[in-house]
Symmetry: C2
Subunit: 179 residues, 2 copies
Amino acid sequence: MIQRTSFREMECPIARSLEEVGEWWSILILRDAFHGLRRFEEFQSSLGVATNTLTRRLADLVEHGLLARRRYCEHPPRDEYVLTEKGRDFHPVLLAMLAWGNRHLADAVGPAVLATDAASGAVMDPIMVDRTTLKPLSPRDIRLVEGPGAGPEIRARIARSDAARAARAKQTAANQGTT
Amino acid sequence: MIQRTSFREMECPIARSLEEVGEWWSILILRDAFHGLRRFEEFQSSLGVATNTLTRRLADLVEHGLLARRRYCEHPPRDEYVLTEKGRDFHPVLLAMLAWGNRHLADAVGPAVLATDAASGAVMDPIMVDRTTLKPLSPRDIRLVEGPGAGPEIRARIARSDAARAARAKQTAANQGTT
């Protein structure tokens, strides 16, 4: 077992997401589930992962509600694993990783996998926008603020963030003053 | 050190992304970098992580080109860490995790952190769309296909994916035939 700090008690939704998906294998299992795989042997032949690791990761994804176990055969008893709504909602994370990997980690010859429009076959370039305004969300245009669930940890982070930015702005102003 | 399989040789852009960001701490460092933090002490007080772990993770992010080390003080020598273009491009992954965490892991009282429009203050709901058509990208509307860099691994995965879907479609048709 991998020993590491638990992020579960952290308030940050990103830290909680990391804790929830557990580890890399879980993310690759979800990827394969979006590829239409459902059965233990399908995941195993895709991932080449040890049986006990796969068993543990599937159980973990079921326990956290990203996959649901469903019996597809009674004799002999056989289960398959299907994405729940919570699991399907994880899709944008994978798509964002796919886009980043394609952009920055592909071999010189080009990306290995492309997302295309299932209807038209056109290659799609996934970007993040706001649901209502469809405005692209770049780091520059976004400000993270305390939500209703913010506790001391988040409040401290946002205060540190504001302080760091203010210090930098002051520094920039001072530098411009001296040149 | 955590022992795990290397995903680097995998062709899949998602597996490569996972390999590249290394581990959870790297993602939280990037998160803090987007919050405006740059200095060792700033990251450390935000993350509460052991000094040697933070040193290693920062060096790793610099080595992989997501952060750049920049000297901000000569006497005494002090460096800060700033996001590169490759690092900034990771933003959608974090935003997707934030949205998922807010939706599925928040306490009953509501999300701890909200992304707002820096200009208007309006709360933003990040979704993935295609850059050109602005069409929302749901798993159902997307088909993953081989790109120019696809090798045997990707070709096998896409073949397995097509086979699994075809088997399911056949099964569904058979079930509908018997009811």
